[in-house]
Amino acid sequence: MEEYYGRQLVQPKIKNVPAYVSVAATFNNHICQRCGQTDIEKLPNYHFYCRACLALGRVSSRDVLLSLPEPNLFDGHDILSWSGKLTAKQQEVSNELIATLKEKNEHLVWAVTGAGKTEMLFPVIHKALTQRYRVGIVSPRVDVIIELAPRLQAAFSKTDMVVLHGEQTQDYRYTPLVLATTHQMLRFKSAFDLLIVDEVDSFPYAGDKMLSYAVQQAKKATGTLIFLTATPTKQLQKRVRRGSLKTSYLPLRYHQHLLPVIKTTLVGNWRRKIPKQLVKQLTHFQRTEQRFLIFVPKVADLKKVYDQINKHVPHLKGDYVHAADSRRQEKVQAMRDYQLQYLVTTTILERGVTFPGIDVLILGADDTTFSENALVQIAGRVGRKNDRPTGLVRAYVQHISLNVVAAQRQIKQMNHRGKKLGGRK
């Protein structure tokens, strides 16, 4: 019975349905009742299925949706086992979130990379759990979920939590705390009293109608929705300006140092010949054993750049990684474990993944794959360590790029706000 609480699960009509479960049609006017889309594909015999949400198992006109209302059958004896301290500004934001929980509202937390937003969430999550609320924390990016899982479980060590995403097979259980990718919200219905969407501006959530529908469906009508990001989309920024979205700002990193600015170097056609300025920088890294990431625009650039580095600076130990790389987790782990000094990567490592104390180079930063927000996120990889709160972010460009200039301006604006709060260089 529990497995249906706040869920909507697909089952063929022909299978037996338990008597206590409510049954709903899968389509209404050709609108998929799980994902709200009309991306219909035909089956024989006048049947059809939904292609939009196919990745989570097919919904067809031969199926029904099974669910039960969320009864909040939790004991509320939850303990915040995290013993860290919030900065004054973090505390302020944290209090604003607790107020939002009471008002059952929507709220945006606009916090710079490295602001410590996860810790800021702990008090509001704790508050919700002690009220027997069901709490969901979701992100479009599976890396974010994987990195968050142990930290969240450590902070709420007495609370039962389930982690749901496509790259693993943990079975679903009925728990007060759910950590999942946004796609998984398609399997929930009016379940969450508090739903937190991390990295709300990132692919594939931003601009995806189905995923925002899924998030809205998964929370209760009376639920609270909190969005988190360092780089809000234009749409979110518009809502902030119009005042239709309550917002908390956190322009300063938890270690009270300002964001590293992006420096630019003009180079020639780097795809034809590795720039001498880059070789010089790499040689310097080799001497100082400084760890770093090199971002390149395209998957096809990865191996070429990696080979060039090996040729010109042969004793640097590194690797290259991209989104569809089957050894992606392994390579990222090797970098974390200090087995590698560097990774050449595409924008997949632009966020979520933290390697303390690294520097960042962006080769071909003027390529259109690097949006303003992507560049701000990439720069945000640097200076994430207490004893090395700054670092180098260098963009190699063939031409002056509007995106690079806009990213530099965005960082400057945040630093301007941060300085007022006492931020140091």
């Binding site: 594909e41 035909k42 089956l43 024989p44 299925y49 031969r62």
Partner: protein, 223 residues
Amino acid sequence: MICQLCQTFIKQTPSLLQTFGMIRWQPNKLCQACQSEFVSISCACSGCGRQQNNESLCFDCQRWEKQGKILLQHTSLYQYNDAMRDFMQRYKFNGDYSLRQIFNHELIQYVNNMAIDLVVVIPISEYTMMTRGFNQTVGLFEGVTLSDLLKVKAKNKSHQSQFNRKGRMMRTQPFTVSKSLPLHNKRVLLVDDVYTTGNTLYHAADLLYDLGAKNVKSLSLAR
């Protein structure tokens, strides 16, 4: 065009002959990268169509012969590798019926070039039809006139008492004939999605020979 498997954009340039209508312009369903993952069968066992270095009968086919079977001279277009396994997972088990189009043109062409009188499809059970919603083989061969001569037998009707060979065969025979169709002097082609052990196809062929078929060959997408 968008690649049906990985959704990347495909640039399409018709060849000169295609532009002038000399040969039919068939847009690619897959991008180069996805297409290259599928491996054709180049040299195969003449009995079951499995990829090997020569055309002589493999061990399994020699065993079929010993059991008194007339070999199916099976042909498969592609090897059952990781890419094909993934394709089958998405098409058949996740039920993405639209993927039937990917190999459809190739399969139709192949059937059209064979000297046969009737194409019989391997059936699926009523239960599978109610859940998956389609016969995966019918989908793959859409456009070919298929006979639904064979049906999956309803379960729980086993006659345990018969001990002779015919009885044992009856028990394991998963199919039955849906209508009495005389097949005298007919050359029949059996089609299926994947050839795995051959059991399914040989059971089907038994019934077709019982109906008087002159010969029965078989074809599948993968082996």
